[in-house]
Amino acid sequence: MSLLELEDIHSYYGNIHALKGVSLKVEEGEIVSLIGANGAGKTTTLRSISGLLHPRKGKVIFRGKDVTKLAPNLIHKEGLGLVPEGRGIFPRLTVLENLEMGAFLVKDKAEIARGIEQAFTLFPRLRERAEQKGGTLSGGEQQMLATARGLMSTPSILLMDEPSMGLAPVLVDQIFDVIKELNAKGTTILLVEQNALMALSIAHRAYVLQTGTIVLSGAASNVAKDENVRKAYLGI
């Protein structure tokens, strides 16, 4: 049984048919990349998984349970973490409070403290900024915070929506190193990226999304070799 499985998902914004039958699987322990051009439906896919947008057709199965119609807070409770597009930092909460929000459902204070310590070890910059308001952080720091916050609930899968967006190359490298490190420690990751080259280099498997449909899937190394992918996304 896969950790996460999408079966023929159709999602709409009003009359706009944004996802036209998306199916994909993520196995435990994998990094799976979902790549595609701007407007392909990558964010919509993550919103459909996490309950922020309910698909009109199809099923989302997470850890063997049908979560298609569940509210986002209940899906989160099942062990799903999301690092949203644009980071979704609470601008008027401090860095520390933002992290605490990530562990909103965690009852054990000691566990929260451990999570915060872990976040600071992963991203030492956040420790220096702990009392600063989220809205005053730089883009890179916000991405670090969003990632760390997503981990606070120790989710069994972390969905990440374009973590490299708007970051300087050094920071992109740093974020991708962290993703690899997290995965090595056992976190399953579904990574959405426009930066296909980077995404394919660290993923086990990949899906290519084009105007709401999956047009290609397979081992990341094979996807990277595909003629069309190389032309369209890798600029080769």
């Binding site: 309950g51 989160h76 949203p84 979704g88 601008p91 008027r92 909460l93 909103f104």
Partner: protein
């Protein structure tokens, strides 16, 4: 030490108390100075001569002698406005929407509390309740007003607003205006069915109408007594306690943190495990309860209520919320105090300074004039954030 204060949650009690003191003293001092300067400028004017001939005092002395009473009245009504304004501003904070039915939620609180007191009066327990009994019944009336208003607020959210979430902004606004009118008529219907009259008068009980003499100012003619009614003290004390309580809930509790995060980013709050619908309902509950308590306090102060009693206080409180910076709790407090003070100053001095051409019935114009001036120069309100910062 700072850590200790923080961990005890004491900070979230002392901080709002400090702010209230600053706002009351600041607004009071500022307006007093303006008033005295105006009086100095008006020396020798017609108004001055009129006062000398009728009351044998000059305008400067008259202004200063009346200040204490005007300030006390301003603070009293200011805290009532602040309590109502918080309902508008909290709902705006989480939904970016003006709950125009809040003025009727206030009215329902007032009616529920007053009806309870009328029943207690009829069965005779109010008159025989001794020294402390009246306070018990008033507390019960407040609790009933809060429950009724909070409950109605939650019901309105569930039936008239939640189904419209995601609709264009204007749609829930129209719904709110509709709910507002509907509730007015429902109150009128219920009240006239039971007694044939649709207004109510709060029973006279306890020592609430007594006046506590603070000090006396000797003048050439009759001495001026500065006093405060017991009920004004109660209104201020109750409002201060509720405002501190609300501040504590919002800033120092888990549900408060959930409210703040929903206000800042609803989707992200949801994926952190927060039940957004529950949080929004809770926001209506406490905003409504505050409004309901304000309704009972208003009835205590002004004695007579009718189904339209919410309209003016509602408009003023809405103005207060906007002046302070809608969505900002401290702003609602500041706005309420400013509006209460302005109204009290205008009510007391407008007639004298214009030799009766503009009597105190024009005091409301001042409130709305201020609204226009503030939003022209500071669209986001005195303590509001710049709109562009809102993500």
């Amino acid at each position: 030490m700072r850590r200790l204060i923080k961990s005890a949650g004491l900070r979230e009690i002392l901080l709002p108390l400090g702010r209230m003191a600053v706002f009351v003293l600041g607004a009071g001092a500022l307006m007093s100075v303006v008033m005295v300067v105006l009086a100095l400028l008006c020396r020798g004017s017609g108004a001055d001569k009129l006062l000398l001939s009728t009351q044998n005092v000059n305008i400067v002395f008259y202004t200063m002698a009346n200040l204490p009473q005007v300030l006390i009245d301003g603070v009293t009504i200011g805290f009532v406005y602040a309590a109502i304004a918080l309902g508008y501003t909290m709902v705006y904070g989480v939904l970016e929407f003006i709950n125009f039915a809040h003025s009727e939620i206030f009215a329902i609180g007032a009616f529920a509390g007053v009806e309870f007191l009328i029943i207690m009066d009829k069965i005779g327990v109010l008159a025989t309740s001794g020294t402390y009994g009246p306070y018990l019944y008033l507390t019960l009336a407040l609790a009933i007003g809060m429950l009724a208003a909070g409950g109605i607020a939650v019901l309105i959210e569930r039936t008239a607003y939640r189904p419209l979430r995601g609709a264009p902004r204007l749609v829930p606004l129209i719904s709110a205006i509709g709910v507002s009118f509907a509730l007015q008529d429902i109150i009128r219907l219920v009240e006239s069915l039971t007694t044939g009259q649709f207004y109510r008068v709060i029973p006279t009980f306890g020592n609430f109408d007594d006046k506590i003499l603070l000090f006396t100012i000797q003048t050439a003619s009759a001495p001026i007594k500065v006093d405060i009614q017991v009920k004004s003290v109660i209104v201020i004390a109750a409002a201060v306690m509720m405002l501190v309580g609300l501040n504590y809930i919002v800033n120092a509790t888990r549900i408060g943190k959930a409210i703040r995060s929903v206000a800042q980013d609803r989707d992200t709050a949801a994926i952190m495990g927060i039940g957004v619908n529950g949080v929004i309902a809770f926001t209506f509950l406490i905003g409504g309860a505050l409004g309901g308590a304000a309704g009972v306090l208003y009835a205590l102060k002004f004695t007579r209520i009718d189904p339209f009693v919410g309209f003016m206080p509602g408009m003023k409180a809405f103005t207060a919320a906007v002046v302070g910076g809608i969505g900002n709790l401290t702003g609602a407090l500041l706005g309420g105090i400013i509006l209460g003070m302005l109204e009290s100053f205008a009510g007391a001095y407008l007639g004298t300074f214009t030799m009766g051409n503009f009597g105190s019935e024009y005091k409301d114009i001042i409130a709305f004039l201020i609204l226009i001036i503030v939003i022209v120069f500071r669209p986001s309100g005195l303590l509001g954030e710049q709109i562009s910062q809102k993500a």
